[in-house]
Amino acid sequence: MDREQELLTGNVIGDEAVLSIEELARACSAEARWVIELVGVGLLEPQGTEASRWRFRAADLICARRVARLQRDFGATVDAAAVMIDLLDEIEQLRACLKRVGLDVDEGPRWSV
């Protein structure tokens, strides 16, 4: 088994928009025009006005890969995937809310009446 002991230092991508449309498309094994479609329905919100100058954040890449999976596995259209993503985000926020007040859905309520 080959173990690489060399220490790898990567670039951290966060809230700063750095990924170009080509980089985003490549990371999703998709075409640039699919990315344009996703921007068109508001799933991705790049900085910059023309597509050639668009820059995307980490959250855009994570979202785009999710859309790709939903399209592949459910045959969802981009619009349907957008609705799914909105609803999933809302569920996630509600779960975080529950967790904050100590009502973790996984553990059930801490008290009962």
Binding site: E4, L7, L8, T9, N11, I13, G14, R26, R66, G75
Partner: protein, 310 residues
């Protein structure tokens, strides 16, 4: 490796039509898809379902698989027979490296032969993706983590085999959930001498027994004795960088938040650490403890339900 019964995994008969198979797959996908399901083990289950569907919805793969089916039982030790694949031509490519990572050794042994038609052309390697779970403390100090990835490679016969490789990755200080570490050139190898793809690591925090993280901010529930909360006190609290003393203001109630500025995840700007106070009652399990509670009941004119009008 074990023989897998793809029909059983999708819950369909061997005589199922293409529509039956699609229907069964869609139903299971709704239940187990990692993007929409919170069932534990959903991800592993969905991989199995996806793999079964990949084979059964493709008429060529299904026919080839059916030839095997009669000879093997699920869970039985399996090696591809020497005549495997003879007489079948897998026109639709076979399996992409991305899929090979997700699918089982059983699948790869059957369908993992790369179509080598693209060999003459140059094409950059695909980008790969993986999740990395780091400790909250790593984000405070920076760290080095070894991560093990299964990556598809071609063996001498042109078959896809999964090799484990371990990468030593620098975890920079200030890393947050939802960020990506992009490791240039650590994705799939390029074809025909083209550049390799990149590896994107999606950062997650491993669940912590004490702390909860929201963006840059970190939350800790700090238990207090009633007298500490009522009278004010200086108490010790853990923080991800070590214990510190904090001043509890008098008259603090449960749920009150104390903000320790810039003691959240480091960065520009750094996050804050919030101490969520929680008053804990000492048990009244000895005579003297009961006496103290009785004294309080007698001496303090306190009605916690005043606001309820009773």
């Amino acid at each position: 490796m074990e023989f897998k019964d793809y029909y059983k995994i999708l819950g369909v008969e061997r005589t199922a039509t293409a529509d039956d198979i699609k229907g069964a797959y869609r139903k299971l996908a709704r239940k187990y898809h990692p993007d929409v399901s919170k069932e534990s083990g959903a991800e592993a289950r969905f991989k199995e379902i996806g793999e079964a569907y990949k084979v059964l919805h493709d008429p060529e793969k299904r026919a080839a698989y059916d030839q095997l089916g009669a000879r093997w039982q699920p869970g039985q030790e399996f090696t591809p027979p020497p005549d495997w694949g003879a007489g079948f031509e897998f026109t639709r490519g076979t399996v992409s490296p991305e899929e090979a990572v997700e699918f089982s050794d059983f699948f790869s042994s059957l369908f993992g032969q790369f179509g080598r038609h693209a060999q003459s052309a140059q094409a950059p390697g695909e980008d790969h993706h993986a999740k990395i779970f780091i400790e909250l403390e790593d984000a405070y100090t920076g760290a080095t983590r070894g991560i093990t990835l299964r990556a598809p490679q071609l063996d001498a016969q042109g078959r896809v085999v999964l090799r484990e490789r371990t990468l030593n990755v620098q975890i920079p200080k200030g890393l947050r959930e939802g960020q990506l570490i992009r490791l240039a050139g650590q994705g799939a190898a390029g074809i025909g001498g083209a550049a390799p793809g990149d590896l994107y690591l999606e950062v997650h925090f491993a669940p912590h027994s004490l702390y909860r993280v929201e963006g840059r901010d970190v939350f800790l529930t700090l238990p207090l004795a009633p007298w500490e909360a009522a009278l004010g006190a200086t108490v010790n609290t853990p923080t991800p960088t070590g214990a510190v003393e904090v001043k509890i203001p008098p008259g603090s109630q449960s749920g009150r938040k104390l903000r320790l500025k810039s003691r959240g995840i480091p960065g520009q700007p750094a996050g804050d650490l919030y101490l969520v106070l929680e008053v804990v009652l000492p048990p009244a399990d000895t005579e003297s403890a009961q006496r103290i509670y009785h004294t309080m009941a007698r001496e303090l004119a306190f009605n916690p339900r005043q606001a309820l009008g009773v």
